[in-house]
Amino acid sequence: MKTETQRGWLFVLPVLALVAFNALVPLMTVVNYSVQETFGNNQFFWHGLGWFSDILRSERFHAALGRQLFFTATILAIEVPLGVAIALAMPRKGIWVPVCLVLMALPLLIPWNVVGAMWNIFTLPDIGLLGYTLNTTLGINYNMTQSPVAAWATIIVMDVWHWTSLVVLLAYAGLISIPEAYYQAAKIDGASNWSVFRYIQLPKMKRVLTIAVLLRFMDSFNIYTEPFVLTGGGPGNSTTLLSIDLVKVALGQFDLGPAAAMSLIYFAITLAVSWLFYTLMTKDES
């Protein structure tokens, strides 16, 4: 017989304290702001759910949310299949394995603001390698400070460049864990390459791909630094994603109430989508 004690809680306390100070307290401060109005002087007045209904009806919010969803959907649609394809093409053994892995990991090691700055310079029409080549050598008019299409293309390509590796590494980890016998059995069963992918590789990668999609969803949905450094949300508002808009409201206009309500709605969307996706993907496993 095992005796049950409550001593376990003691071990959780330090973590709980840490999480309280770096997450719960700030979050509750935001909750606090979201239901109050202030006119400065540190004086606050109860505003109920007013900010929430304002934000939910605001066209500015709808537009930013739309851009955010479009961005996330686009990069997921590119990065996941591309990542799986690259992982499939990578060698499984031999001296090229570490070389490929290091090459793949490189973009992940670069700080986000550096990525933004790199791409900013890379795409400058007069001196950037890409900008100059496109404009001068190929004669394509490409300037992301003027054209929303160019700006969008650039932030998407940048994100693909920065983050596809994550999908590759996760998918690769899933692939190499498949025992050789599965491929041998498939060969003997006369399976085509597509069948091998569809019935062996994809099911075995399902778990890691779920994680990859989840991570890429959360990161891209909350993305701030790279597009901010690259386009600053412009030209106009064309690349103002949710997080950029939020910072504008909170720190630019210093509207604490609406900004707090907006962050909570933002947080709720991220949480709900992640939860829904994970539940759907893992429901037939138990």
Binding site: A181, Y182, Q184, A185, K187, I188, G190, A191, Y199, P203
Partner: protein, 356 residues
């Protein structure tokens, strides 16, 4: 269904093998009849899995030929050879139902829908998987998963050979026995050539009509279970098969007689060979405790049910004996005798006596 022949087969995993040690398989010649049940038996690393992969086509041998019905298939890939293989761990297609798993090899070969259905149901019935057909294969227990692996080989009625690569490794002991007899039964119902690779002598001896014993990439003996037990051609076979294995005792040969620790030992017949290392081989079943003979001291007595295994020490050598009568006490001084008809001399490991 086919007759399988291996001609002068050698295989090395190295690019430029120079000495015989570089070969995982050292020159193998074998002939297997159509519809037989064969076992490849040997310790881990003896080359039996290499040999199996060469027969299935997953590996192309460095030298030699593989013939199916006199047709050279040495360089054909597995799917062109019409073979089936069951692996150590159950290989199933997780997302498919049991039915789809069994139908998969047939559908890939473009078999008509009705024919697939009949065949799948027939094989599922044989394997007692009939009630599970609609269930997702990943929800089954390991023994049933392994049955699916077997089933995917059995559904194809044109297979040349079905190969089993230590198929019972992950199966619980009580189910091992069941699955083993199921396999034997299946072999009798569909007379397809089956090759069973294992390091478990019980599995090999109960399954096969003929067992190929391998050691270090060499076939040391091919024979029926009875032959392997009664007249091992090599000390390795004697030692590897049987529990406990054959007693291998160093001896001297002088004037056509074998002498063990100063005592002449009667043999099954005349000595025909000689070598640097001469040994007497006698199974524990044929060692008796007698009133006179080789003096020994009893070191251990283990009652294993129907009989007793006695470990006796004669000088530096340990001799095992299986005794069905009243066993001696530990520490008792006894005399050992060997049954002449089952006592042989081995020269450098290979048998060196003739049946008299």
């Amino acid at each position: 269904m086919s007759r399988i022949a291996l001609r002068k087969l050698r295989h090395s995993y190295m690019k430029a093998p120079s000495s015989p040690e570089d070969y995982a398989l050292k020159e193998i010649d074998l002939e297997w009849a159509d519809g037989g049940a064969y076992a490849l038996l040997g310790p881990s690393g003896c080359g039996k899995s290499t040999l199996l992969n060469i027969i299935s086509g997953l590996l192309v041998p460095s030298e030699g030929q593989v013939l199916f019905n006199d047709e050279d298939v040495t360089s054909l890939p597995p799917d062109k050879r019409n073979i089936a293989q069951v692996f150590q761990f159950p290989v199933i297609y997780d997302t498919m139902s049991v039915y789809d798993n069994l139908a998969f090899p047939l559908r890939n070969r473009g078999v008509a829908h009705d024919a697939v259905d009949t065949r799948v149901r027939e094989i599922a019935e044989m394997l007692e998987l009939g009630d599970w057909l609609k269930v997702r294969a990943s929800n089954l227990a390991p023994d049933n998963k392994q049955k699916i692996s077997m089933g995917r080989g059995l559904v194809r009625d044109d297979v040349n050979v079905i190969m089993f690569d230590k198929p019972l490794t992950v199966i619980d002991p009580e189910l091992k026995w069941k699955l083993r007899s199921k396999l034997k039964e299946l072999h009798q119902r569909i007379a397809v050539t089956m090759i069973y690779v294992t390091h478990d002598q019980t599995e090999a001896l109960t399954f096969a009509d003929q067992v190929v014993v391998m050691q270090d990439g060499v076939v040391v003996q091919i024979g029926t279970p009875v032959e392997l037990f009664e007249r091992p051609q090599h000390t390795f076979v004697g030692h590897f098969i049987g529990s406990p294995g054959m007693n291998i005792l160093p001896c001297e040969v002088s004037g056509g007689r074998a002498v063990f620790r100063g005592h002449p030992v009667a043999l099954e017949g005349p000595i025909t060979g000689s070598g640097a290392r001469m040994e007497i081989g006698v199974r524990p079943e044929f060692v008796k405790i007698e009133s006179e003979g080789i003096p020994a001291v009893i070191e251990r007595v283990a009652d294993i049910g129907r009989h007793t295994v006695v470990e006796a020490r004669a000088g530096d050598e340990t001799v095992n004996a299986i005794i069905s009568s009243e066993p001696p006490q530990v520490g008792e001084e006894v005399h050992l005798g060997f049954e002449p008809a089952q006592t042989r001399v081995y020269a450098d490991g290979w048998i060196a006596t003739e049946k008299g």
